[in-house]
C-alpha cells in the first residue's frame, strides 16, 4: 500500500471468446465483478482458469462457437520522465471451453 502505482485500481482485465477465426471481447457481468477483481489482484493460473469457467455461459456469439476463453490481465505503468501511462500485459491465459 502506498508504495507502487501497480495497485488494485491500476489493473484491469479483458476476456475474449476465441477460435481460429474469432476474437470477441466479453463484457464482464455484474455478478462476476468481484471475481474479476480477485483475478486482477492475484492473476494465478488457477484463479484465471476458474474465472474463465465462470464466464463460459456468457461466451455465446452470433457466429461460430468459440473454442476457448482468453483472459488478459493488464497493469498501468507510467513513464519515469513524462508520466505517460501505458498498459502492460501481466498475464495471459487461454482456457479451452468444455465440449458438451
Amino acid at each position: 500500500m502506498f508504495s507502487t502505482v501497480d495497485g488494485r485500481f491500476a489493473r484491469h482485465l479483458h476476456a475474449f471468446a476465441v477460435s481460429p477465426s474469432l476474437r470477441i471481447e466479453l463484457e464482464i457481468p455484474f455478478e462476476l465483478q468481484e471475481q474479476a477483481q480477485s483475478a486482477v489482484a492475484l492473476p494465478s493460473d488457477s484463479r484465471l482458469r476458474a474465472f474463465a469457467r465462470e464466464l463460459e455461459p456468457y461466451a455465446v456469439t452470433d457466429f461460430e462457437a468459440p473454442d476457448a476463453i482468453r483472459i488478459e490481465v493488464f497493469t498501468t505503468r507510467v513513464d519515469p520522465g513524462t508520466l505517460a501511462p501505458s498498459g502492460v500485459l501481466l498475464r495471459r491465459l487461454e482456457v479451452p471451453l468444455a465440449r458438451p
Binding site: M1, S3, T4, Q37, L83, S86
Partner: protein, 278 residues
C-alpha cells in the same frame, strides 16, 4: 481508572474503531459490530481472552473471505485482536500487550519501508507524482501543497487514466508545475523517512535512546497523515497499538493519543482539507 490504563484503553480504542467504522461483508459485519458494541458497554467482557479470540477469529475470517482483496490493515487488526487475546491470558496483561504493540508497530513501519524501497516507481518519485493526481483521497494535498487548481487536477487525472493496452497515451502529458513536482518529492522522501524512523524507534530497546521519541513521533505521524489520507480505520488501529505500549505512569501521553483518535475522527467527518479544493 482500570479502563484508562494502557491495556484497558487500548482495548476500548480498538472496539471504538470497529464500532465507528464497521467492517466485513454479509453476516460478519453485524457480528463484528455487535461484539464491538458489547465489549464497550460491558467492559468486563473485554477483559476476557475468549472475547478477543472471537474477534481475532472473525477478523481473520474477514481476510480469508475477501482473499486476496483485503487491505493490509485488515491483517494487522486480526493480529492485534490475537495479541489482545494472548495478553489477557496473563494475570497482568500489560507487559505482554506492550511488547506486542511495540513490535507490531515496528514491523508495520519496517515492512512499509521495505515495500517502498523495492518498488522502482516509488524511489524515483513516480508513485506520488501519479497517485496525488489519480487518488481522489489525496486531492487536498495535490491542491493545497502541490498548488494544482481543480482544472489542472482533472486534466492530469484524465491523462493518467486514459491509455491503451500496449501503447502509451498519444497526447502529450500536461506540463508538471515545479511546485507540484516538489510536493511529490516531499511526500516521497518525507513518508519513507518518517516511516523508517518510526520503525527504528519502535524496534529500539525500550527505555533507551531513540525509544524516548516513540510517542511524540507516532502522534505527529497520525495527526498529519490522516489529515490527507483519510484511512481512519488504520489510523485508529495504530493509535490503539501506540496506547498499549505507553508507560503505565504516562497518563498525559495516553490522553494525547485519545485526542489524536478524536482528531482522526474529525478529519473523517469534517473534510476541512477539501474546503480549498472545492
Amino acid at each position: 481508572m482500570r479502563d484508562l490504563d494502557p491495556v484497558g484503553l487500548a482495548g476500548r480504542l480498538t472496539l471504538a474503531d470497529l464500532a465507528l467504522r464497521p467492517i466485513g461483508v454479509g453476516w460478519l459485519r453485524p457480528g463484528l459490530l455487535a461484539l464491538a458494541v458489547l465489549g464497550l458497554v460491558v467492559p468486563s467482557l473485554a477483559r476476557r481472552p475468549g472475547f478477543w479470540l472471537a474477534l481475532a477469529a472473525l477478523t481473520a475470517l474477514r481476510v480469508v473471505s475477501t482473499w486476496p482483496l483485503a487491505d493490509n490493515h485488515a491483517y494487522l487488526l486480526a493480529y492485534w485482536c490475537l495479541a489482545l487475546a494472548i495478553a489477557w491470558r496473563e494475570a497482568d496483561p500489560g507487559p505482554a500487550l506492550a511488547w506486542s504493540g511495540r513490535v507490531l508497530l515496528g514491523l508495520v513501519f519496517a515492512l512499509a519501508v521495505l515495500w517502498k524501497a523495492i518498488s522502482p516507481d516509488y524511489l524515483d518519485g513516480r508513485f506520488f507524482r501519479a497517485t496525488l493526481v489519480t487518488d481522489h483521497r489525496l486531492a487536498s494535498y495535490a491542491v493545497l501543497v502541490g498548488g494544482l487548481d481543480n482544472e489542472d487536477l482533472l486534466e492530469r487525472r484524465e491523462h493518467l487514466t486514459r491509455h491503451r493496452d500496449g501503447l502509451s497515451a498519444e497526447a502529450p502529458p500536461p506540463l508538471e508545475p515545479a511546485r507540484f513536482r516538489a510536493a511529490a518529492w516531499l511526500a516521497t522522501w518525507g513518508t519513507i523517512g518518517v516511516e523508517a524512523l518510526l520503525a527504528l524507534v519502535f524496534l529500539w530497546p525500550t527505555g533507551r535512546g531513540l525509544s524516548r521519541i516513540r510517542d511524540p513521533l507516532l502522534l505527529a505521524f497520525c495527526s498529519v497523515t490522516y489529515l490527507f489520507a483519510p484511512v481512519s480505520g488504520f489510523g485508529w488501529l495504530l493509535i490503539a497499538l501506540g496506547v498499549a505500549q505507553t508507560d503505565p505512569e504516562s497518563f498525559r501521553t495516553r490522553a494525547s493519543y485519545v485526542v489524536v483518535f478524536a482528531l482522526v475522527y474529525l478529519y473523517r467527518e469534517v473534510p476541512w482539507a477539501l474546503i480549498g479544493v472545492g
